[in-house]
Symmetry: C2
Subunit: 179 residues, 2 copies
């Protein structure tokens, strides 16, 4: 089912993402142009605190002009190991550190146009450290009972994809192995 | 927590997405530039067939150069009602039609840089019609037992965000109201 790219044009190269246009030949012989957002990949962390609470973050998201309730996350730096990246983002955004990280999933967020993959971890045994958000990040910590997080997904109040996936996988896997 | 945009520059305007750079003032008084992908929004449909099977689609995704197993989905046309869009995409991609659509969730896929919201529906009472994919879509139908879909999420074989959310919400809500 593969497509063959016969021409690729870089439109924009930025700090978070790049945009390129690929001219491709489809398996049916037709040609088309794909608009592709290149992203270096990201990690997200579902932090479990006090045994029965999640630690989430509130953050204004410029593309949708809304403040969302999400799990901490951030992009992978060049050459960075994903587990180290998860530890770094957790401390930076929440002020908590841990060595207890378990991968929940690796997920493509919008594979129709974006190359981004996000690696989602469960973080346990959190210890208080010092938050150090990036200059352009204004973040507020929010603790939520586990069941409350699930209810906010069902009600639609939590509507960020990585956060929904992390919380629902936590509950699903918990039946077998996690809790 | 809101940011104020004081300058906005359109970099690229395409058929699926546009790219713009917004200069913003953060709540802490600092300024930064946000790279923003504008997307018109999309729908996705989890089609339930034969009472205990899902209908999924296999499709090559150029940005990641992989063939993914996903639920049918597509972008909203200008002025199109989301339920009509869901019916249209379901027929186009799978050849099945229905009037029985129930909203499962509306979700932001990558709110850090993309404005895309995706509206996810459960589709029941499917009737065979004629598939009519877009010229640039090469799509293959795949039926999966409901439990098998959940297992493929847990194993990582299904790794598309909207598909994971749709299937997991189906099982979660099914406990209360759906099935």
């Amino acid at each position: 089912m593969e497509e063959k790219t016969f021409k690729s044009k870089l439109i924009y190269k930025g700090k978070i993402l790049s945009l390129r246009l690929d001219d491709v030949i489809l398996p049916n012989g037709k040609t088309t142009t794909r608009e592709i957002v290149e992203h270096p990949g990201a990690v997200a962390i579902l932090p479990l605190i006090d045994k029965d609470k999640f630690l989430l973050v509130k953050q204004f998201r410029t593309p949708i002009r809304k403040t969302l309730l999400e799990i901490p996350a951030g992009k992978i730096e060049k050459g960075e190991n994903i587990k180290e990246c998860a530890k770094r983002e957790l401390i930076e955004e929440t002020g908590y550190k841990t060595d207890n990280l378990k991968k929940l999933a690796s997920v493509y967020l919008a594979p129709g146009y974006s190359s981004e993959i996000i690696h989602i971890f469960l973080a346990k045994n959190l210890k208080k450290s010092i938050a150090n958000p990036d200059d352009d990040e204004v973040i507020q910590n929010v603790t939520l009972e586990r069941k409350e997080a699930l209810n906010k997904i069902i009600s639609g109040e939590i509507n960020d994809s990585k956060t929904i996936i992390a919380v629902m996988l936590y509950f699903q896997l918990g039946k077998d192995s996690i809790s």
